[in-house]
Symmetry: C2
Subunit: 221 residues, 2 copies
DNA sequence: CGTTAACATTTTGTTGACAATGGGTGTGAT
DNA sequence: ATCACACCCATTGTCAACAAAATGTTAACG
């Protein structure tokens, strides 16, 4: 009967984060504490706690005595973010090639199979599936610091860029690349997996960057 | 006349962090909110904010409705931490070799000169100097995500291990290695700098790990 | 007319009281 | 003697009011 005893601040964090990632709260817009608190029907206490966690996740920026605003998306930030991500996920691949456990390997294979089955019917939707794959690889690295860094801090920013810059995607290529990476890990070839992962992420970076640039232009033009 | 307009929570964060890193609050010990709040002469509000930031920095662990405790030091965490750090600081070296600016280069040379001058007189104290060097390299990478990850999250845990496991050190070797790394960066040889940095950090990891193990044994024995 | 200084308003930071949850203790039954 | 249950208390989560700071406005002065 495991009642999830989530605290109010936790639930608020999730709701706020969705609103930000989904673009409901526009990038760069100011966040008024009592307005948002009223909107969620809570006090300012838990809200401030949620805001602080979002600041840590680099989804909002706060200035003492001034307030919080939703971060704005820039090409520079995107490039920096993906560069670090590529490095760390490549590292995760090297570790996973040694550390991964049979059940984790099975789960990843099944995930890719499910994705492929979906693609053969519907047009394209992926999104969550791609994230799940990367999540699985990261977990398999078995390095807690690496896991915390990638899934706890970088991941949320990434999700924001990916969501707001999701245009017609290239999920078939991505799926093929995922299969290659997983095969390399299964063979214990960490270096190959790392190389493939780095290329895979760099391709994603270029794609997202292109969409972002286009979006910025039509905004200022 | 720049009056530091630090908020109460900010000051409390700094004080608490010093107490934790310095071992004044023992690893694994429970943190009672109102006790600490009384000790610092503040309310529980700002204290909770500071605690939350410390949780983010992985210096305390919090469980909802139960409370916060200072993290305990383990060899596994130490290994994971240094492994990620080595990877990221190696990356910082590669970037710094391309991105570093003349004034940053000068500042680092001067830092090493000052350290050397100190060593020729006093026995050994370093500690802050080593951190400053690594800080400088990281900054020179000019990748904001990398800087935030290394100096904002990983750095604080690292400092705790280094402070609590600081025995007789090997600052002369470290200084020589720093010089080699800086020279490689100056020559634009990022790969060499990265390699040297990785070795340098791995050496530090082994050293710290040895001291930690010794400390753990005498604690349980 | 532009600049600056004082003021008012809005918003954030802080506090102390109230509510809710978890752990500890003591009692009783097996 | 050990285990299970219920109750109580300590501690954390939440709230609403208060204090302090910053921005925007207004008005006076150069």
């Amino acid at each position: 009967m495991e009642a999830k005893q989530a605290t109010l601040a936790d639930r608020t964090l999730i709701q706020l984060q969705h609103a930000i990632i989904g673009g409901e709260l526009e990038p760069g817009s100011k966040i008024n504490e009592q307005a948002i608190a009223a909107r969620f029907g809570i006090s300012r206490g838990p809200l401030r706690e949620a805001l602080q966690r979002l600041e840590q996740r680099k989804l909002v920026e706060r200035i003492p005595h001034v307030g919080a605003r939703v971060v704005s998306l820039t090409e520079a930030k995107l490039a920096d973010l993906y560069q670090v991500r590529a490095e760390l996920e490549a590292m995760a691949c090297r570790l996973a090639a040694v550390q991964i456990k049979p059940d984790q390997l099975d789960a990843l294979h099944q995930l890719l199979d499910r994705q492929q089955a979906v693609f053969s019917q519907q047009p394209i939707t992926e999104f969550q599936g791609d994230i799940d794959f990367h999540f699985g690889i990261i977990q398999a690295s078995n390095n807690q610091t690496l896991i915390a860094t990638l899934t706890g801090d970088l991941y949320h920013q990434l999700q924001m860029y990916r969501y707001q810059c999701s245009s017609g995607r290239r999920p078939l290529e991505a799926l093929a690349q995922h299969r290659q990476i997983l095969a390399a890990i299964q063979n214990g070839d960490g270096e190959l997996a790392a190389l493939l992962m780095r290329r895979h992420i760099e391709a994603g970076a270029r794609h997202t960057q292109r969409v972002l640039r286009q979006k910025m232009e039509e905004y200022s033009g």
